[in-house]
């Protein structure tokens, strides 16, 4: 006698539904939506009750957490699932996890938890295993089953990004790890409580294995409180409308979600095949790591989006390169989560989205590639690294489609990668510390189809992006902000520019035992402009810091101190400060020790551009100049702008006439320097034949060609290479 409906086992229900979908093309084989057609307004009432409840649950739970990631930045999300793990309604927050948790629930069902582990009212499961259903170890999920008269009626899930996960280095996202065993504590759909109470043994395990548990405990309480609040509300709703109505309702709402998504695709996208490619660099050559990891590597993220006239949306990644012995790998659930968070922002944002949308899409993530690794011990700590670059390409594909349909106001050319900086050691209160400064949740948005991208205010993985208050971050980490400012020119140039990123100059303060790590793309372009716009500057590549500084004397004498990067070629922390200055362009910083008065500059990327830069409207140029957002260097050469500052008002003015002339000049230069693509092709082909490509690039091609025959064939065909050509 199963805990599913009518005595079925959950595995039976799951199987039945996937069979029905396969047979009929409709979720649960629902050809008609009888409840909705019978009384559309009652249907709406029930939905608004469920949605209202889950949103309210989040609002309440937000206040419990101690972690600024949750309280300041709202990195918390609650979701209501069907017994088989299909999402029915969701709150805002890190909605990327709406689908990852769904996969976790389905995994438990397939593993027959029903019999082997037991699923009862009051049980608490937690999961952070990305191979099973998550993005990375730092995203911790609480899942509780909810019953009605002995039948499992729903799952409720809550997830948030934790500060610390007990990995090889401090923080939620260890970067020194080369396999699963350095990723930190793994909880693979683990039962950690019964009767709404956590097992003491579980709590002890956390206390003994994490760098400080205040944040961990309060985050967990926040997740549980939210789940329990939702459970109470759900019971009331079921009592009011009847369990039979509810059961039928959740079936219909998901099938409707599927139809709705296909409808949106038909309405907004143009059928056809879209292609783009992104790349993520892992420059680990010479790093103190095992040989298989101490290499320069590039992750290849080729994207093919297919839109069919019937509204089917397919994402394929044929040609993706192999997984790596580094934290920069992703997993199937994580990639599906990435797709989810993208489409909920670009197509299905009306708040009625559910797992139906997922059933209306197809995905192809090649097995053995970094997007779907075939090694069970692969590290999945920094999943977001390659994942984020992939969806930059997806944004571009969808933006082309919006353009073709005439909906330019929906275009986003991409976004700046968020990278990371993490803290370890001892905090200013003398406690062990592990945490990530989540001000990174505010990069530059890519240029839009009708305006510039949003400056320092976007992270693709959470549309409710924010950087939080410096005063709050100074409460959490032993640091003093010497400045937090926009990075001029960090947004990709174009007719509309990408939103600029920002950077913070932080001085270590209140602790002599600080260990920082930092990672993100840098040596390679992880995004690209669209319709002639440029990718964003690689500010994340550079790690600049100064140790053993003379800042105490500087302060005493009231001499200038670094408050922003200044001239990138001669940064303020080098110019103003005496000390041990480091400038490293490797884009990864392995654990590095800092002491009081050391300074470090964190860079957060800008977004890519849109359109031909010499078409940039004059008034936008002037605005940038007056806000100090523009680089003099690129004004003339790239934007073709001639401007001068008024001595009276100190306002910048663009000389339209001279600008017009200069822009014509630039066109002429292009004519002179441009070569016919076919000629370029011949020359480039020679290089390939001679294998005159850098080692990481050749490695990337080799892996892509070995994993995907079709991609290898296309590569050879394009360059007209012999069938046996290999790198």
């Amino acid at each position: 006698m199963g805990i599913g409906w009518n005595g079925k086992a959950l595995s039976e229900m799951l199987q039945e539904n996937s069979d029905l979908l396969a047979e009929t093309g409709c979720c649960y084989g629902l050809k008609t939506l009888s409840l909705k057609q019978g009384d559309p307004l009652k249907f709406e009432r029930v939905f608004s009750r469920l949605r209202g409840a889950i949103v309210a649950a989040r609002e309440t739970a937000l206040h419990i957490s101690a972690s600024p990631i949750v309280r300041e930045l709202g990195e918390l999300c609650f979701v209501l699932y069907s017994p088989e793990g299909d999402c029915i309604a969701l709150s805002t927050g890190i909605i990327v996890h709406v689908h990852t948790m769904s996969e976790a629930i389905k995994w438990m069902i397939r593993q027959n938890y029903e019999e082997d582990v037991g699923i009862r009212e009051g049980d608490i499961f937690i999961n952070n295993d990305a191979l099973v259903g998550d993005a990375h170890t730092a995203d911790v999920q609480s899942l509780i089953p909810t019953f009605h008269e002995g039948e499992l009626i729903a799952w409720i899930g809550g997830v948030n990004h934790v500060m610390e996960i007990g990995g090889i280095d401090a923080g939620g996202i260890p970067i020194t790890t080369t396999n699963r065993f350095g990723d930190g504590l793994y909880f693979t759909c683990e039962k950690v409580g019964e009767n709404d109470r956590l097992f003491r043994t579980y709590q002890i395990r956390c206390e003994r294995n994490l760098r400080g548990t205040v944040h961990w405990n309060l985050d967990e309480k926040a997740r549980l409180a939210g789940c329990h609040i939702m459970r109470e509300a759900l019971k009331e709703i079921i009592d009011e409308f009847g369990v039979d109505y509810y059961k039928q309702f959740i079936r219909e709402i998901i099938e409707e979600g599927r139809k709705l998504f296909s409808g949106r695709v038909k309405e907004r996208l143009f059928p056809g095949r879209y292609r783009a490619a992104s790349f993520y660099d892992v420059p680990q050559k010479g790093a103190p790591l095992p040989a298989n990891a101490a290499k320069d590597m590039i992750l290849h993220a080729p994207v093919e989006v297919t839109v069919k006239p019937d509204g089917m949306f397919k994402l394929g990644m044929n040609g993706a390169s192999k997984w790596t012995y580094s934290p920069a790998n992703s997993s199937l659930p994580a990639m599906q989560g990435g797709l989810w968070v993208s489409i909920t922002q670009m197509l299905a944002y009306d708040g009625k989205v559910n797992d139906g949308a997922y059933y209306a899409t197809e995905q192809e993530f090649p097995y053995g590639s970094w997007s779907n690794p075939d090694w069970p011990y692969v590290s999945l700590s920094a999943t977001w690294g390659p994942l984020m670059v992939t969806f930059n390409a997806v944004y571009r594909c969808m933006s082309r489609s919006f353009f073709s349909r005439g909906y330019l106001e929906e275009i986003i050319s991409g976004y700046g990668h968020t990278g990371l900086i993490q803290w370890g050691g001892t905090d200013q209160y003398g406690n062990p510390m592990g945490g990530i400064n989540f001000e990174l949740c505010a990069s530059g948005m890519g240029a839009r189809g009708i305006m510039d991208g949003l400056d320092s205010g976007y992270a693709m993985w959470n549309p409710e992006s924010d950087m939080g208050n410096m005063e709050i971050w100074e409460l959490v980490f032993p640091q003093i902000y010497l400045g937090r400012r926009i990075i001029p020119g960090s947004g990709g140039l174009g007719k509309y520019r990408g939103g600029n990123g920002f950077h913070s100059v932080i001085m270590m303060w209140g602790s002599d035992d600080i260990e920082l790590t930092s990672a993100g793309p840098g040596k390679i372009f992880d995004n690209c402009g669209i319709f002639g716009g440029y990718p964003s500057a690689r500010v994340g590549r550079r790690k600049i810091y100064c140790q053993d500084t003379d800042l105490p004397e500087i302060f005493k004498d009231k001499r200038p101190y670094p408050s922003f990067e200044g001239d990138p070629k001669n940064p303020e922390i080098e110019k103003f400060v005496e000390g041990d200055f480091h400038s490293d362009d490797k884009s990864i910083m392995f654990p590095t020790s800092f002491h009081n008065h050391d300074v470090f500059v964190t860079f957060w990327h800008g977004g890519p551009g849109y359109g031909d830069p010499i078409e940039r409207p004059i008034e936008l140029v002037e605005k940038d100049l007056n806000n100090g957002y523009a680089l003099q260097e690129t004004m003339g050469s790239v934007l073709g702008v001639v401007s001068r500052q008024d001595n009276e008002t100190s306002e910048w003015k663009v000389d339209e006439e001279k600008t017009g002339a200069l822009r014509q000049q630039i066109l002429d230069q292009r004519g002179q320097r441009g070569v016919p693509a076919k000629d370029w092709w011949k020359a480039e082909r020679e290089r390939i034949m001679k294998k005159e490509l850098s080692e990481p690039v050749q490695r990337m091609y080799r892996e892509s060609m070995s994993i995907s025959i079709p991609w290898a064939e296309e590569f050879r065909a394009f360059w007209e290479l012999p069938d046996d050509f290999e790198f």
Partner: protein, 171 residues
């Protein structure tokens, strides 16, 4: 469902609409006649008379015309330069400029915040006619030219027979 005048749509796509109105349009349900109006707006703009059946990107169109005898779809620039049939990658007919050294990369972004040209380069594609920068690629050296968009034009127009009748007059 909303519908907007050609004037409104024109200033919208030119980025000249006041923000409040723009925001309203963004938050509203979509105007179903947008595609048709966009085609008309662009058709009035271009200095040539071939029928635009699809706007591919800034300044770039797919037009329906006779290609050696029978009807076909060509990729064409606003300036009048014709690239090739839509089923082939127009970029292979473009002028190209590759930024594959630090100097060339530092011209377009703040040095030294650039990629390592050994790892990633920038390819610029200009229209041989008007020299407009139509596309940019950022890739490792040796990467095949990307075929950005292969539209299913027939599949699309199947869904809009009236529009098809209106645009595909002859043939």
């Amino acid at each position: 469902m909303p519908t907007y005048s050609k004037e409104t749509i024109t200033s919208l796509i030119e980025g000249k609409l006041p923000w409040t109105t723009t925001k309203q349009i963004m938050s509203e349900q979509k105007d179903p006649d947008r595609f048709e109006k966009i085609l008309e707006i662009h058709q009035d703009r271009v200095p040539w008379s071939d029928t635009i059946v699809l706007c591919m990107g800034e300044h770039l169109y797919i037009v329906r015309k006779r290609v050696n005898g029978d009807w076909g779809f060509m990729v064409k620039c606003e300036c009048g330069f014709e690239f090739c049939e839509y089923s082939r990658n127009w970029k292979m007919e473009a002028l190209m400029y590759v930024r594959d050294t630090e100097e060339k990369l530092e011209e377009i972004m703040p040095a030294p915040h650039i990629a390592d040209p050994e790892w990633g380069v920038i390819r610029e594609y200009y229209c041989p006619g008007c020299k407009t920068q139509l596309e940019v690629e950022a890739l490792p050296p040796g990467y095949p030219v990307i075929f950005d968009f292969l539209p299913d034009i027939d599949g699309f127009y199947e869904m809009y027979p009236d529009l098809k009748k209106k645009l595909f007059k002859e043939g």
